[in-house]
Amino acid sequence: MDVLTLLGQLLNSTLVFSTALIFTALGGIFSERSGVVNIGLEGLMIFGAFAAGVGTYYAQEAGMGSAAPWVGVICAIFVGILGSLIHALASVTFKADQTISGIVINFLAAGLTLFIVKLLFDGSAETPLIKVFHKQAIPLLRDIPIIGEGFFNAYPTTYLALILVAVAFYVLYKTPFGLRLRSVGEYPGAADTLGVNVSRMRYIGVMISGALAGLGGATITLTTTSLFSHNTISGQGYIAIAAMIFGKWNPVGAFGAAMFFGFSQAIRNYVQLFEWSRSIPQEFIFMIPYVLTIIVLVSAVGRASAPSALGTPYDPSKR
């Protein structure tokens, strides 16, 4: 295999691993930029993966054919938003500790989804195998060396993720809505004085994070596992949180960080192709992404800069 195709394939599987992380990290940015910590991304992904599995299954049963996965995606977005509303209700309306209410989401998601799956599928702890997305090459563009194989022969969800990075950046930095969202996360008192509805902005931020994390969870069901079970997500949400912080709460930065995590997962499959890697215990190869992350963080200059009102419920009487 020549180097160019190898690099192309490496890039391609990097994107497969990264897509869900990109969605979820983008979602995290919207929530945290509005000032609401979202440690519940893991749970929201579980909700999404679950809804995608169940939704696609029933759409398939209803004879929707190749449109079925898209029904799954829509279900995932919807259920993700519903899940995030619990978080918003507790942390914005009732001013609960945001970390705690995020953990609540993780617990409820892990419990509710499996509970419902067992109810629907006669006690089975996983959904049946479902129809999933297939890679779709874009004509012409896919003939570009490396990038063609890397970017333009991907799952539809991957294209969507790439587009959403640009959209998120535009929305956050170039629109009045984005400015308001960020101002609510930086200095809610000032934003309130200027007539921005702090609670409403935070609700919107959290709901967008629910939609995107649901989409992220759906991506894993619909491109990687083909079914939903208890270990479909297993920690991806936490990695997405790391990607968000690593990317300094910026869509483009988070995209880069998600690509980095995806790359280090992809490379661990490729390293095993080489003879010299046989002498390294596989556990050390598995560790690569996580050790690399810590090393990069240690060597990166500058501290992570979280939105300054992150984690504090807004109380107008303390303005």
């Binding site: 609960a96 705690i100 209410s101 617990f107 790391a242 215990p281």
Partner: protein, 357 residues
């Protein structure tokens, strides 16, 4: 002033209790929606937990690591940090205890067990201190580092077990002879796996309280937790406190793992995925409102529900996942105290009037 304090102490007791009741009601509603009988399920749960001496002993076994991990997370919280990495610290403590006891095979248990316990605790502490160190020196968010270290700990532990202590043909370590079981209690608890870890866990809870609220070092740690900048301005060394707090937090978690291998399993498995001790610890810490006494009670609640869930699913056919929904709801109601206060309001006012009379 006295009156104020009374209301406060009452509140910190009443709110969790109401939250527990509300959580159980949510669980019952979910069961009704799923066409299960909640009364049957809950009585099966209680029967499983207190039905026989063996089950009581096993519930204590289930509760013990939860006390440790709950204390670990709560201690870090009190010092202003979020230790998501208790999971990894548990694993490292486990692996170290396994390695030490298997290496000291043949040495008298009175020597090897304490050595393994000390080594396991210290190893967990050092593992957590890495995250503390990186936060203190480089300002790296401990949430990321502890998440990453969880995975590193998982694979590292598997490596150690697989390459040095593997039982041939099995996916676990050789059997550990050194044991922290309390054999003299076996007859009382009908051979349930009770062990010294429970005693140590309660001592750890006492240490937690005395250290944080009765010593100068603990005062500094809480000050750093409340307001880093104020603490620094007052001349406290924030970095050192951060590292120390993470270390102590990690020691608690490491001990959880240590006693799981020395007292319960007497071998260590090769884990395919994180065993989840640390995440349970987060829930326990939150349920216990980051207070050592609260953590002990929360661990009993959490451990009891988890252990009882098997009975519930056996007798009433309810999937054990229901327990997670109940625990999630309880934490939700504790966190969103506004809801509880709202529900309590009418009762509350009445009771106050009675007191006046």
């Amino acid at each position: 002033m006295n009156k104020l304090r009374k209301i406060f102490t009452l509140d910190s007791l009443v709110v969790p209790l109401v939250a527990i009741v509300l959580g159980l009601i949510v669980g019952a509603l979910v069961m009704l929606l799923g066409n299960y009988n909640p009364i049957e399920a809950y009585s099966a749960l209680i029967k499983r937990v207190v039905g026989s001496p063996y089950h009581v002993g096993e519930t204590i076994r289930q509760v013990t690591p939860l006390i440790f991990t709950g204390l670990a997370v709560a201690f870090a919280f009190r010092s202003g940090m979020f230790n998501i990495g208790a999971d990894g610290q548990v694993l490292i403590g486990m692996t170290t205890a396994t390695a030490v006891s298997l290496s000291l095979d043949g040495v008298h248990a009175l020597v090897s067990v304490p050595l393994a316990v000390i080594a396991g605790g210290l190893a967990g502490g050092c593992w957590a201190a890495i995250a503390g160190f990186l936060k203190a020196k480089r300002g790296i968010n401990e949430v990321i580092t502890t998440i990453m270290l969880n995975w590193v700990a998982l694979y590292f532990s598997n490596y150690i077990i697989r390459h040095f202590f593997l039982l041939k043909g099995q996916n676990r370590s050789e059997d550990i002879q050194a044991s922290a079981s309390m054999t003299f209690l076996s007859s009382i608890f009908d051979n349930a796996r009770v062990h010294w870890g429970t005693v140590i866990a309660l001592i750890a809870a006492a240490f937690f309280y005395i250290y944080l609220w009765k010593t100068k070092q603990g005062y500094e740690m809480r000050a750093v937790g409340f307001n880093q900048h104020a603490a620094e301005y007052a001349g406290m060394n924030v970095g050192r406190n951060v590292i120390k707090a993470m270390f102590i937090s990690g020691v608690f978690a490491g001990l959880a793992g240590t006693f799981e291998v020395l007292g319960v399993f007497h071998f260590q498995s090769v884990f395919a995925a994180s065993p989840g001790y640390g995440f349970d610890g987060i829930a326990v810490a939150l349920l216990g409102m980051n207070h050592p006494i609260g953590v002990v009670f929360a661990a009993i609640l959490y451990g009891g529900l988890t252990y009882g869930s098997a009975g519930m699913s056996f007798a009433a056919g309810v999937p054990p996942e229901l327990i997670k929904i109940i625990i999630g709801s309880i934490i939700f109601f504790i966190a969103a105290q506004g809801i509880v206060r709202f529900i309590l309001k009418p009762f509350y006012l009445k009771r106050k009037k009675e007191k006046v009379l």
